[in-house]
């Protein structure tokens, strides 16, 4: 088994039931919620400096959302019965809400994408021939109205949908934290702070992944990285990471100071099993260091060379992405490293490379949304759209009238 047991455990408590997949699930949904919040900063709160990311963030949110159920399905003992959570839900279970929340949020995101990209779809259909034309015309759902009024209406609906989407994104991710926070059996999980901590770290990971993706996309496309966009993202990221880190620390400090019975297991847990992943990675490498790096960018930003700003924000974002993953690991795996006897621990848990819920499966699931994003970009460009020569409407580019 490769691990040792310390102290006395209930004999059924020696297994890790929620594995790497359950670490990934809140990680991916966190990216969904975070990316959506960024897109909403543009679509609802009119942060013009985030305009370059308005569409891209939405696309990213959609791609992460599309794979969010995969780790869950891969984890289930009977994935073929997975749909029963939606078909015959037991509403006393927190988990039963997942299907409804997920499905309705998915609907909001898809609808919003349709309204945001509708005029593009019509333009691509008009510009292309054959199958491609049919494909885009189908996606446009036979609505080819690109008049001033129609576009104004699109804009209005997008705004409303985003406004609905914000609380839904918060709910979707707060709910994931609730799944853990509402279990009184586990002192490491059971805290009303859990949904809030999950939510803030979700926004952190979402902004961080967008900083990384935006810079990469601009590099690949040979386009200029907007200073205002990066500066704005860094400010938001800094704010949210401070709140996230504060909450994470507050939870630990309260428990430690209270010396409540939970501390009997949480103290040793942090000192031993989670000493690297919590203290070194979550708090120092992924917490303190990005806090300083981003702080430098926020305070000194005006005097800073663009390349230094971009590099610092890139490094800080990558560290924060690791921090949030470490946080998920520490919650999910950490909560299973001790027995409910509160007297015994496992010493380590190392997921296998090739097992069903192992490292390879996790890597595939983590890479998948980025591949999806590349495909999305091929079908509905969100980056090329930013080039100055493509207008919002673009129907002047050799349009061929569409039927219907």
């Amino acid at each position: 088994m490769g691990h040792q047991l310390i102290g006395s455990l209930f004999p059924n408590d020696v297994h890790i039931h929620w594995t790497l997949m359950i670490v990934l699930y809140p990680y991916v949904t966190g990216l969904v919620a975070g990316a959506f919040i960024v897109s909403s900063l543009y679509h609802v709160f009119d942060r013009e400096e985030l305009k370059p990311l308005g569409r891209f963030a939405l696309a990213a949110s959609f791609c992460f959302l599309s794979v969010a159920t995969l780790p869950l399905l891969n984890h289930l003992g009977h994935p073929e019965r997975g749909p029963m959570v939606v078909i015959t839900p037991n509403f006393s279970s927190a988990m039963a809400g997942f299907g409804i929340l997920y499905a309705s949020y998915f609907l909001v995101v898809v609808l919003e994408i349709w309204f945001v990209f509708r005029t593009d779809l019509i333009r691509y259909a008009a510009e292309s021939r054959g199958f491609k034309r049919m494909f885009y015309a189908t996606l446009a759902l036979g609505v080819y109205d690109t008049s001033e009024e129609a576009r104004a209406l699109d804009h209005k609906i997008t705004r409303i949908l985003t406004a609905i989407g914000i609380p839904m994104a918060c709910l979707l991710h707060g709910y994931v934290g609730f799944l853990f926070g509402a279990l009184k059996s586990n002192p490491w999980w059971s805290t009303p702070l859990m949904p809030v901590i999950f939510l803030f770290s979700a926004v952190v990971s979402g902004i961080a992944v967008l900083i990384v993706l935006y810079q990469l996309a601009m590099k690949i496309k040979g386009m200029a990285i907007e200073r205002d966009t990066i500066s704005a993202l860094v400010r938001w990221l800094w704010l949210f990471m401070i709140m996230s880190l504060t909450l994470e620390l507050l939870e630990i400090m309260t428990l430690a100071y209270e010396k409540a019975e939970e501390w009997e297991v949480i103290g040793p847990l942090l000192a031993n099993q989670l000493s690297i992943s919590f203290i070194s990675v979550q708090m120092v490498l992924g917490g303190l260091i990005p806090l300083i790096l981003l702080g430098i960018v926020v305070v000194m930003g005006a005097y800073m060379d663009d390349r230094i700003r971009n590099t610092l924000s890139m490094v800080a974002s990558l560290l924060l992405l690791m921090q949030v993953l470490a946080m998920r690991w520490n919650v999910v795996i950490g909560g299973q490293m001790f027995s409910k006897s509160m007297r015994g621990f496992r010493d380590t848990y190392v997921p296998g490379m090739f097992e069903k819920e192992g490292i390879l499966a996790a890597a595939v699931i983590l890479i998948l949304p980025f591949l999806l994003l590349v495909i999305f970009e091929r079908i509905l460009p969100t980056i090329d759209h930013l080039r100055p020569n493509t207008s919002d409407l673009g129907l002047d580019l050799d349009p061929e009238p569409l039927a219907g």
Binding site: F10, N12, H15, H17, H78, M84, T88, N90, F98
Partner: protein
């Protein structure tokens, strides 16, 4: 009676074939469990009987026995080698243990159970007669109930890939038999009681003696009662 149909589904084939369960009315019973820790000798017969009766996979436990050894000073030492299934080695001569006792454990069949609450599909459910069961044909194998049980009574069955736990030998008690563990116990440390049967001796004990439950502070209302429990037991 739709629930009775579910019960019939999860009972072993032989119980369904004999039809004896059709005479069983679950509204006429309310099962509870009583453990007298002062009587338990740690022989492990109960755990062995349970494994055999219910084909419990190796390394998983529907019931187990813990030995608590409490030195006059210092920390309590709890062990449960192989769930106590094969008994216990004697204390080493220099252990200086003044207080030592065995605590058999099993699912507490809580009246306010957190495990059925969290089951997303209702595969884990409570019967009218006080049992907490899992329908392996409905369970999706998410493991949420395993996390929610504060007593470590549930495990993931590697063969069925579903949650598994003590059924109170439901296939036996609905035929008028006792549970395998109660029947195997040579000293009468384990007793099954029926709160709706006024002549059941367990009711007399519950009514007149001081009983305890495990982790009372969690308010799960365990229906497994203990006599002679020490405060160190969790």
């Amino acid at each position: 009676m739709a629930s009775m149909a579910v019960i019939a589904l999860i009972l072993p084939e032989d119980a369904r074939a004999t039809g004896t369960t059709s005479e069983y009315d679950w509204d006429k019973h309310r099962w509870v469990y009583l453990i007298d820790t002062r009587k338990c000798i740690g022989c492990g017969s109960c755990a062995r009987a349970c494994r055999k009766e219910n084909q419990v996979p190796e390394g998983m436990y529907r019931t187990w026995i813990e030995r608590n050894a409490i030195p006059p000073e210092g920390e309590v030492h709890v062990d449960s080698p192989d769930g106590g299934e094969h008994g216990f080695e004697p204390d080493p001569p220099n252990a200086h243990v003044r207080k030592s006792f065995f605590v058999p454990k099993l699912c507490n069949h809580c009246a306010n159970t957190p495990c059925t609450q969290v089951c997303p599909v209702g595969a884990s459910f409570e019967t009218n007669d006080g049992g907490v069961l899992v329908d392996p044909k409905q369970c999706i194998g998410c493991g949420y109930c395993l996390q929610a049980c504060p007593y470590g009574s549930r495990f993931m069955n590697p063969h069925t890939r579903t949650a598994d736990k003590c059924t109170l030998c439901y296939h036996r008690i609905t035929k008028g038999l006792s549970t395998a563990c109660v029947q195997a116990c040579p000293v009468g440390a384990r007793q099954l009681g029926d709160r709706k049967n006024p002549n059941d001796p367990v009711n007399e004990i519950l009514a007149t003696q001081r009983v305890q439950v495990l982790q009372q502070q969690l308010l799960t209302k365990p229906q497994c009662f203990y006599l002679g429990l020490d405060m160190e037991v969790r």
